[in-house]
Symmetry: C2
Subunit: 230 residues, 2 copies
Protein backbone atom coordinates (compact mmCIF):
# COMPACT_ATOMS: atom_id res chain seq x y z
CA UNK A 1 0.00 0.00 0.00
CA UNK A 2 1.16 3.51 -0.84
CA UNK A 3 0.78 4.59 2.78
CA UNK A 4 3.43 2.05 3.83
CA UNK A 5 6.13 3.85 1.83
CA UNK A 6 5.32 7.13 3.60
CA UNK A 7 5.63 5.63 7.08
CA UNK A 8 8.71 7.32 8.47
CA UNK A 9 11.10 5.94 11.02
CA UNK A 10 10.30 8.35 13.82
CA UNK A 11 11.95 8.23 17.24
CA UNK A 12 9.14 8.19 19.77
CA UNK A 13 10.07 9.18 23.31
CA UNK A 14 8.54 10.55 26.49
CA UNK A 15 10.10 13.24 28.69
CA UNK A 16 8.88 14.16 32.17
CA UNK A 17 9.05 17.48 34.01
CA UNK A 18 8.84 16.36 37.65
CA UNK A 19 8.20 19.38 39.87
CA UNK A 20 8.31 19.78 43.63
CA UNK A 21 8.47 22.67 46.08
CA UNK A 22 11.82 22.98 47.84
CA UNK A 23 12.92 26.07 49.76
CA UNK A 24 9.61 27.69 48.76
CA UNK A 25 10.46 27.46 45.06
CA UNK A 26 9.31 25.24 42.20
CA UNK A 27 12.17 22.90 41.36
CA UNK A 28 12.59 20.40 38.54
CA UNK A 29 14.36 17.03 38.62
CA UNK A 30 17.28 16.70 36.19
CA UNK A 31 19.35 13.56 35.56
CA UNK A 32 22.89 13.35 34.24
CA UNK A 33 22.73 11.51 30.90
CA UNK A 34 24.85 8.38 30.66
CA UNK A 35 24.40 7.74 26.92
CA UNK A 36 24.93 9.73 23.74
CA UNK A 37 23.76 12.13 22.51
CA UNK A 38 24.72 14.69 25.17
CA UNK A 39 26.27 12.09 27.52
CA UNK A 40 27.20 13.81 30.79
CA UNK A 41 24.71 16.65 30.38
CA UNK A 42 21.83 17.26 32.81
CA UNK A 43 18.47 16.62 31.13
CA UNK A 44 14.87 15.70 31.86
CA UNK A 45 14.14 12.07 32.71
CA UNK A 46 13.06 10.49 29.44
CA UNK A 47 13.17 7.39 27.29
CA UNK A 48 11.75 5.51 24.36
CA UNK A 49 8.17 4.36 24.32
CA UNK A 50 8.11 0.56 24.81
CA UNK A 51 5.43 -0.68 22.41
CA UNK A 52 5.69 -4.19 23.85
CA UNK A 53 4.79 -3.21 27.40
CA UNK A 54 3.54 0.40 27.79
CA UNK A 55 -0.25 0.81 27.82
CA UNK A 56 0.08 4.33 26.49
CA UNK A 57 2.38 7.33 26.63
CA UNK A 58 1.42 8.23 30.21
CA UNK A 59 2.25 4.70 31.26
CA UNK A 60 5.66 5.14 29.60
CA UNK A 61 6.17 8.42 31.48
CA UNK A 62 5.29 6.75 34.80
CA UNK A 63 7.75 3.92 34.02
CA UNK A 64 10.54 6.37 33.21
CA UNK A 65 10.02 8.16 36.54
CA UNK A 66 9.93 4.86 38.44
CA UNK A 67 12.97 3.32 36.74
CA UNK A 68 15.17 6.39 36.42
CA UNK A 69 14.25 8.35 39.56
CA UNK A 70 12.55 5.88 41.93
CA UNK A 71 9.40 8.02 41.93
CA UNK A 72 6.08 6.20 42.29
CA UNK A 73 2.53 7.52 41.71
CA UNK A 74 3.01 11.26 41.35
CA UNK A 75 0.22 13.41 39.92
CA UNK A 76 0.96 12.99 36.19
CA UNK A 77 -0.52 14.78 33.18
CA UNK A 78 0.31 15.03 29.50
CA UNK A 79 1.77 18.45 28.65
CA UNK A 80 2.21 18.54 24.85
CA UNK A 81 4.08 16.77 22.11
CA UNK A 82 7.29 18.27 20.77
CA UNK A 83 8.44 17.18 17.32
CA UNK A 84 10.61 17.96 14.34
CA UNK A 85 13.94 17.29 12.64
CA UNK A 86 16.14 19.59 14.75
CA UNK A 87 15.33 18.76 18.38
CA UNK A 88 17.36 15.50 18.49
CA UNK A 89 20.61 14.91 16.55
CA UNK A 90 19.45 11.33 15.85
CA UNK A 91 16.83 12.65 13.44
CA UNK A 92 13.13 13.56 13.21
CA UNK A 93 11.70 12.78 16.61
CA UNK A 94 8.62 13.04 18.76
CA UNK A 95 8.64 13.60 22.50
CA UNK A 96 5.32 13.20 24.27
CA UNK A 97 6.11 15.48 27.23
CA UNK A 98 4.42 15.12 30.62
CA UNK A 99 4.53 17.00 33.87
CA UNK A 100 4.34 15.44 37.30
CA UNK A 101 3.98 16.86 40.81
CA UNK A 102 5.09 15.31 44.08
CA UNK A 103 5.39 16.85 47.57
CA UNK A 104 8.95 17.06 48.84
CA UNK A 105 8.02 14.81 51.80
CA UNK A 106 7.20 11.92 49.44
CA UNK A 107 10.33 12.17 47.31
CA UNK A 108 12.63 9.13 47.38
CA UNK A 109 16.38 9.57 48.06
CA UNK A 110 18.05 11.02 44.97
CA UNK A 111 19.57 8.51 42.55
CA UNK A 112 23.20 9.09 41.56
CA UNK A 113 23.45 11.84 38.97
CA UNK A 114 20.08 13.35 39.92
CA UNK A 115 19.72 16.98 41.01
CA UNK A 116 16.94 19.45 41.74
CA UNK A 117 17.16 22.85 40.07
CA UNK A 118 14.88 25.87 40.61
CA UNK A 119 12.83 26.43 37.45
CA UNK A 120 13.88 30.09 37.52
CA UNK A 121 17.58 29.18 37.41
CA UNK A 122 17.88 26.35 34.90
CA UNK A 123 21.30 25.26 33.69
CA UNK A 124 21.88 24.78 29.94
CA UNK A 125 19.76 21.81 28.83
CA UNK A 126 20.11 19.61 25.73
CA UNK A 127 17.41 18.96 23.10
CA UNK A 128 14.45 21.34 23.58
CA UNK A 129 14.29 20.52 27.29
CA UNK A 130 14.43 24.17 28.38
CA UNK A 131 11.35 24.92 26.30
CA UNK A 132 9.60 21.83 27.68
CA UNK A 133 10.31 22.92 31.29
CA UNK A 134 9.14 26.46 30.56
CA UNK A 135 5.88 25.26 29.01
CA UNK A 136 5.30 22.90 31.94
CA UNK A 137 5.79 25.72 34.46
CA UNK A 138 3.44 27.99 32.48
CA UNK A 139 0.83 25.24 32.38
CA UNK A 140 1.13 24.51 36.11
CA UNK A 141 0.82 28.22 36.97
CA UNK A 142 -2.17 28.73 34.66
CA UNK A 143 -3.97 25.67 36.01
CA UNK A 144 -3.19 26.61 39.61
CA UNK A 145 -5.23 29.80 39.14
CA UNK A 146 -8.46 27.85 38.86
CA UNK A 147 -7.90 24.28 40.05
CA UNK A 148 -6.80 21.95 42.82
CA UNK A 149 -3.46 21.24 41.09
CA UNK A 150 -1.14 22.69 43.80
CA UNK A 151 -2.60 20.31 46.40
CA UNK A 152 -0.44 17.65 44.79
CA UNK A 153 2.61 19.54 46.08
CA UNK A 154 1.33 19.30 49.69
CA UNK A 155 1.77 16.37 51.99
CA UNK A 156 -1.24 14.24 52.87
CA UNK A 157 -2.39 16.51 55.72
CA UNK A 158 -2.16 20.27 55.76
CA UNK A 159 -3.74 23.38 57.23
CA UNK A 160 -5.36 26.06 55.07
CA UNK A 161 -2.51 28.55 55.74
CA UNK A 162 -0.03 25.86 54.63
CA UNK A 163 -2.05 25.25 51.45
CA UNK A 164 -2.21 28.99 50.74
CA UNK A 165 1.58 29.20 51.07
CA UNK A 166 1.90 26.39 48.49
CA UNK A 167 -0.42 28.20 46.05
CA UNK A 168 1.61 31.38 46.54
CA UNK A 169 4.91 29.59 45.95
CA UNK A 170 3.59 28.02 42.73
CA UNK A 171 2.02 31.22 41.42
CA UNK A 172 5.03 33.28 42.47
CA UNK A 173 2.79 35.98 43.96
CA UNK A 174 0.74 36.62 47.09
CA UNK A 175 -2.89 35.50 47.19
CA UNK A 176 -5.64 37.33 49.06
CA UNK A 177 -6.73 35.19 52.03
CA UNK A 178 -10.45 35.87 51.63
CA UNK A 179 -10.54 35.03 47.90
CA UNK A 180 -8.33 32.02 48.58
CA UNK A 181 -10.74 30.60 51.17
CA UNK A 182 -13.71 31.27 48.88
CA UNK A 183 -11.94 29.58 45.97
CA UNK A 184 -11.10 26.52 48.08
CA UNK A 185 -14.76 26.24 49.16
CA UNK A 186 -15.86 26.57 45.54
CA UNK A 187 -13.48 23.81 44.45
CA UNK A 188 -14.94 21.45 47.09
CA UNK A 189 -11.81 19.32 46.98
CA UNK A 190 -10.90 19.20 50.69
CA UNK A 191 -12.29 17.45 53.73
CA UNK A 192 -11.38 18.22 57.35
CA UNK A 193 -9.75 15.29 59.16
CA UNK A 194 -12.02 14.77 62.12
CA UNK A 195 -10.42 15.67 65.42
CA UNK A 196 -7.02 16.44 63.92
CA UNK A 197 -5.41 19.79 64.59
CA UNK A 198 -1.88 21.14 64.52
CA UNK A 199 -0.18 21.42 67.89
CA UNK A 200 -0.84 24.90 69.22
CA UNK A 201 2.53 26.56 69.80
CA UNK A 202 2.17 30.34 69.74
CA UNK A 203 -1.02 30.12 67.63
CA UNK A 204 -4.29 28.40 68.30
CA UNK A 205 -4.51 24.85 66.86
CA UNK A 206 -5.47 24.76 63.17
CA UNK A 207 -7.73 22.19 61.55
CA UNK A 208 -5.94 19.65 59.35
CA UNK A 209 -7.40 18.88 55.92
CA UNK A 210 -6.80 16.29 53.22
CA UNK A 211 -7.71 15.97 49.54
CA UNK A 212 -11.02 14.19 48.95
CA UNK A 213 -10.57 10.81 47.30
CA UNK A 214 -12.47 11.81 44.12
CA UNK A 215 -9.79 14.40 43.32
CA UNK A 216 -6.65 12.28 43.71
CA UNK A 217 -6.26 11.83 39.97
CA UNK A 218 -8.81 14.30 38.59
CA UNK A 219 -8.52 18.03 39.13
CA UNK A 220 -11.30 20.08 40.63
CA UNK A 221 -11.66 23.25 38.56
CA UNK A 222 -13.63 26.49 38.68
CA UNK A 223 -14.40 29.08 36.01
CA UNK A 224 -12.65 31.98 37.69
CA UNK A 225 -8.97 32.49 38.43
CA UNK A 226 -7.61 33.33 41.88
CA UNK A 227 -6.06 36.60 40.79
CA UNK A 228 -8.67 37.72 38.29
CA UNK A 229 -10.12 40.32 40.60
CA UNK A 230 -13.64 40.66 42.08
CA UNK B 1 23.71 0.54 21.98
CA UNK B 2 21.13 -1.00 24.31
CA UNK B 3 18.74 1.85 23.65
CA UNK B 4 18.59 0.85 19.98
CA UNK B 5 17.03 -2.51 20.84
CA UNK B 6 14.28 -0.79 22.82
CA UNK B 7 13.34 1.54 19.98
CA UNK B 8 9.92 0.32 18.96
CA UNK B 9 8.35 0.54 15.55
CA UNK B 10 5.61 3.02 16.38
CA UNK B 11 3.10 4.32 13.84
CA UNK B 12 3.20 8.09 14.13
CA UNK B 13 0.19 9.94 12.72
CA UNK B 14 -1.66 13.22 13.03
CA UNK B 15 -5.47 13.59 13.13
CA UNK B 16 -7.32 16.88 12.81
CA UNK B 17 -10.67 17.92 14.27
CA UNK B 18 -11.72 20.73 11.90
CA UNK B 19 -14.66 22.62 13.38
CA UNK B 20 -16.96 25.22 11.88
CA UNK B 21 -20.34 26.72 12.74
CA UNK B 22 -23.14 25.62 10.39
CA UNK B 23 -26.82 26.10 11.14
CA UNK B 24 -25.80 27.62 14.52
CA UNK B 25 -24.10 24.37 15.61
CA UNK B 26 -20.50 23.24 15.93
CA UNK B 27 -19.84 20.75 13.15
CA UNK B 28 -16.82 18.57 12.43
CA UNK B 29 -15.40 17.54 9.06
CA UNK B 30 -15.33 13.79 8.41
CA UNK B 31 -13.84 12.05 5.36
CA UNK B 32 -14.76 8.66 3.99
CA UNK B 33 -11.65 6.45 4.29
CA UNK B 34 -10.39 4.95 1.03
CA UNK B 35 -7.77 2.62 2.55
CA UNK B 36 -7.76 -0.12 5.17
CA UNK B 37 -8.19 -0.30 8.08
CA UNK B 38 -11.84 0.83 8.17
CA UNK B 39 -12.03 1.55 4.40
CA UNK B 40 -15.40 3.15 3.64
CA UNK B 41 -15.92 4.47 7.19
CA UNK B 42 -16.21 8.17 8.01
CA UNK B 43 -13.22 9.33 10.07
CA UNK B 44 -11.19 12.41 10.96
CA UNK B 45 -8.75 13.70 8.33
CA UNK B 46 -5.39 12.19 9.27
CA UNK B 47 -2.16 10.75 7.98
CA UNK B 48 1.37 9.70 8.73
CA UNK B 49 3.96 12.22 9.78
CA UNK B 50 6.39 12.78 6.88
CA UNK B 51 9.80 12.99 8.48
CA UNK B 52 11.38 14.01 5.17
CA UNK B 53 9.27 17.14 4.72
CA UNK B 54 7.17 18.09 7.77
CA UNK B 55 8.74 20.74 10.01
CA UNK B 56 6.84 19.39 13.00
CA UNK B 57 3.53 17.74 13.88
CA UNK B 58 1.50 20.94 13.38
CA UNK B 59 3.00 21.27 9.92
CA UNK B 60 1.89 17.69 9.23
CA UNK B 61 -1.63 18.53 10.44
CA UNK B 62 -1.77 21.60 8.17
CA UNK B 63 -0.60 19.48 5.22
CA UNK B 64 -3.26 16.83 5.89
CA UNK B 65 -6.01 19.49 5.91
CA UNK B 66 -4.65 21.07 2.71
CA UNK B 67 -4.20 17.80 0.79
CA UNK B 68 -7.25 15.91 2.00
CA UNK B 69 -9.80 18.70 2.46
CA UNK B 70 -8.49 21.67 0.47
CA UNK B 71 -8.43 23.78 3.65
CA UNK B 72 -5.72 26.44 3.91
CA UNK B 73 -4.59 28.42 6.99
CA UNK B 74 -7.25 27.65 9.58
CA UNK B 75 -6.62 28.47 13.23
CA UNK B 76 -4.72 25.32 14.26
CA UNK B 77 -3.66 24.12 17.71
CA UNK B 78 -2.32 20.89 19.16
CA UNK B 79 -4.96 19.11 21.24
CA UNK B 80 -3.25 16.09 22.82
CA UNK B 81 -1.52 12.89 21.85
CA UNK B 82 -3.43 9.62 21.87
CA UNK B 83 -1.44 6.40 22.07
CA UNK B 84 -1.48 2.72 22.88
CA UNK B 85 -1.78 -0.78 21.44
CA UNK B 86 -5.58 -0.88 20.96
CA UNK B 87 -6.48 2.31 19.12
CA UNK B 88 -5.29 1.13 15.68
CA UNK B 89 -5.45 -2.49 14.44
CA UNK B 90 -2.02 -2.03 12.81
CA UNK B 91 -0.38 -1.97 16.22
CA UNK B 92 0.92 0.38 18.92
CA UNK B 93 0.39 3.84 17.54
CA UNK B 94 0.61 7.51 18.33
CA UNK B 95 -1.74 10.15 17.00
CA UNK B 96 -0.78 13.75 17.64
CA UNK B 97 -4.29 15.21 17.49
CA UNK B 98 -4.98 18.83 16.57
CA UNK B 99 -8.06 20.98 16.35
CA UNK B 100 -8.68 23.64 13.75
CA UNK B 101 -11.33 26.34 13.33
CA UNK B 102 -12.50 27.99 10.13
CA UNK B 103 -15.56 30.20 9.47
CA UNK B 104 -18.14 28.62 7.17
CA UNK B 105 -17.67 31.48 4.69
CA UNK B 106 -14.02 30.52 4.13
CA UNK B 107 -14.59 26.79 3.67
CA UNK B 108 -13.65 25.40 0.25
CA UNK B 109 -16.15 23.25 -1.70
CA UNK B 110 -16.37 19.80 -0.11
CA UNK B 111 -14.11 17.12 -1.60
CA UNK B 112 -15.78 13.87 -2.62
CA UNK B 113 -16.48 11.72 0.43
CA UNK B 114 -16.34 14.66 2.83
CA UNK B 115 -19.27 15.52 5.10
CA UNK B 116 -19.99 17.87 8.01
CA UNK B 117 -21.60 16.36 11.11
CA UNK B 118 -22.86 18.20 14.20
CA UNK B 119 -20.58 17.33 17.13
CA UNK B 120 -23.67 16.49 19.20
CA UNK B 121 -24.81 13.86 16.66
CA UNK B 122 -21.67 12.00 15.61
CA UNK B 123 -21.95 8.81 13.60
CA UNK B 124 -19.94 5.74 14.69
CA UNK B 125 -16.25 6.56 14.18
CA UNK B 126 -13.28 4.20 13.86
CA UNK B 127 -10.11 4.23 16.00
CA UNK B 128 -10.57 6.52 19.03
CA UNK B 129 -11.86 9.34 16.83
CA UNK B 130 -15.03 9.84 18.86
CA UNK B 131 -12.93 10.47 21.97
CA UNK B 132 -10.66 12.82 20.03
CA UNK B 133 -13.66 14.86 18.77
CA UNK B 134 -15.16 14.98 22.27
CA UNK B 135 -11.90 16.20 23.82
CA UNK B 136 -11.53 18.81 21.06
CA UNK B 137 -15.03 20.15 21.68
CA UNK B 138 -14.43 20.27 25.45
CA UNK B 139 -11.17 22.13 24.88
CA UNK B 140 -12.77 24.63 22.49
CA UNK B 141 -15.64 25.28 24.91
CA UNK B 142 -13.33 25.68 27.90
CA UNK B 143 -11.01 28.07 26.02
CA UNK B 144 -13.95 30.04 24.63
CA UNK B 145 -14.90 30.96 28.20
CA UNK B 146 -11.82 33.13 28.61
CA UNK B 147 -10.25 33.76 25.21
CA UNK B 148 -10.61 35.07 21.68
CA UNK B 149 -10.85 31.54 20.23
CA UNK B 150 -14.43 31.77 18.81
CA UNK B 151 -13.42 34.79 16.68
CA UNK B 152 -11.78 32.22 14.38
CA UNK B 153 -15.28 30.94 13.55
CA UNK B 154 -16.38 34.43 12.39
CA UNK B 155 -15.76 35.89 8.98
CA UNK B 156 -13.26 38.74 8.60
CA UNK B 157 -15.77 41.46 9.53
CA UNK B 158 -18.54 41.16 12.08
CA UNK B 159 -20.69 43.17 14.47
CA UNK B 160 -20.64 42.63 18.23
CA UNK B 161 -24.12 41.00 18.22
CA UNK B 162 -22.88 38.59 15.51
CA UNK B 163 -19.80 37.77 17.59
CA UNK B 164 -21.93 37.20 20.69
CA UNK B 165 -24.11 34.77 18.72
CA UNK B 166 -20.96 32.84 17.72
CA UNK B 167 -19.79 32.63 21.37
CA UNK B 168 -23.26 31.41 22.36
CA UNK B 169 -23.33 28.77 19.62
CA UNK B 170 -19.90 27.48 20.67
CA UNK B 171 -20.66 27.50 24.40
CA UNK B 172 -24.13 26.05 23.82
CA UNK B 173 -25.66 28.53 26.25
CA UNK B 174 -26.74 32.18 26.32
CA UNK B 175 -24.24 34.83 27.37
CA UNK B 176 -25.15 37.99 29.25
CA UNK B 177 -24.69 40.97 26.90
CA UNK B 178 -23.12 43.25 29.52
CA UNK B 179 -20.53 40.68 30.68
CA UNK B 180 -19.89 39.77 27.05
CA UNK B 181 -19.08 43.37 26.10
CA UNK B 182 -16.88 43.78 29.18
CA UNK B 183 -15.05 40.54 28.38
CA UNK B 184 -14.44 41.60 24.77
CA UNK B 185 -13.03 44.94 25.98
CA UNK B 186 -10.81 43.12 28.47
CA UNK B 187 -9.47 40.81 25.76
CA UNK B 188 -8.51 43.82 23.59
CA UNK B 189 -8.51 41.65 20.50
CA UNK B 190 -10.81 43.66 18.21
CA UNK B 191 -10.53 46.89 16.28
CA UNK B 192 -13.41 48.81 14.68
CA UNK B 193 -13.13 49.11 10.90
CA UNK B 194 -13.19 52.84 10.35
CA UNK B 195 -16.37 54.04 8.64
CA UNK B 196 -17.78 50.55 8.13
CA UNK B 197 -21.25 49.75 9.37
CA UNK B 198 -23.88 47.17 8.52
CA UNK B 199 -26.73 48.37 6.30
CA UNK B 200 -29.52 49.63 8.53
CA UNK B 201 -32.63 47.61 7.72
CA UNK B 202 -35.00 47.62 10.65
CA UNK B 203 -32.16 48.36 13.14
CA UNK B 204 -29.70 51.21 13.30
CA UNK B 205 -26.41 50.47 11.49
CA UNK B 206 -23.93 48.52 13.62
CA UNK B 207 -20.17 49.08 13.69
CA UNK B 208 -18.13 46.37 11.97
CA UNK B 209 -15.08 44.98 13.76
CA UNK B 210 -12.14 42.77 12.83
CA UNK B 211 -9.55 40.77 14.77
CA UNK B 212 -6.38 42.75 15.50
CA UNK B 213 -3.38 41.42 13.58
CA UNK B 214 -1.49 40.43 16.75
CA UNK B 215 -4.16 37.86 17.60
CA UNK B 216 -4.44 36.06 14.26
CA UNK B 217 -2.35 33.13 15.46
CA UNK B 218 -2.09 33.81 19.20
CA UNK B 219 -5.12 33.83 21.47
CA UNK B 220 -5.95 36.75 23.71
CA UNK B 221 -6.89 35.37 27.12
CA UNK B 222 -8.23 36.67 30.41
CA UNK B 223 -8.25 35.18 33.88
CA UNK B 224 -11.99 35.02 34.31
CA UNK B 225 -14.55 32.97 32.38
CA UNK B 226 -17.62 34.45 30.71
CA UNK B 227 -20.06 32.42 32.75
CA UNK B 228 -18.21 32.40 36.05
CA UNK B 229 -20.54 34.94 37.62
CA UNK B 230 -19.80 38.44 39.02
Amino acid sequence: MAAKAEHPNVLCTVDVVLLTLRDDALQVLLLRRTAEPFAGALALPGGYVHAQSDHDASDAAARVLRDKAGVESPYLEQLATFSGPARDPRGWSVSIAHFALLPESLLPPLHEGAVWKPVERLPALPFDHRQIVQEAVERVRAKSQYSSLPVHLCGERFTLPQLQAVYEAVLGEPVNKVSFRRKIDELGMLEPIEGEFTAGGAHRPAQLYRLRKAFRHVLSTSGRGLNSGA
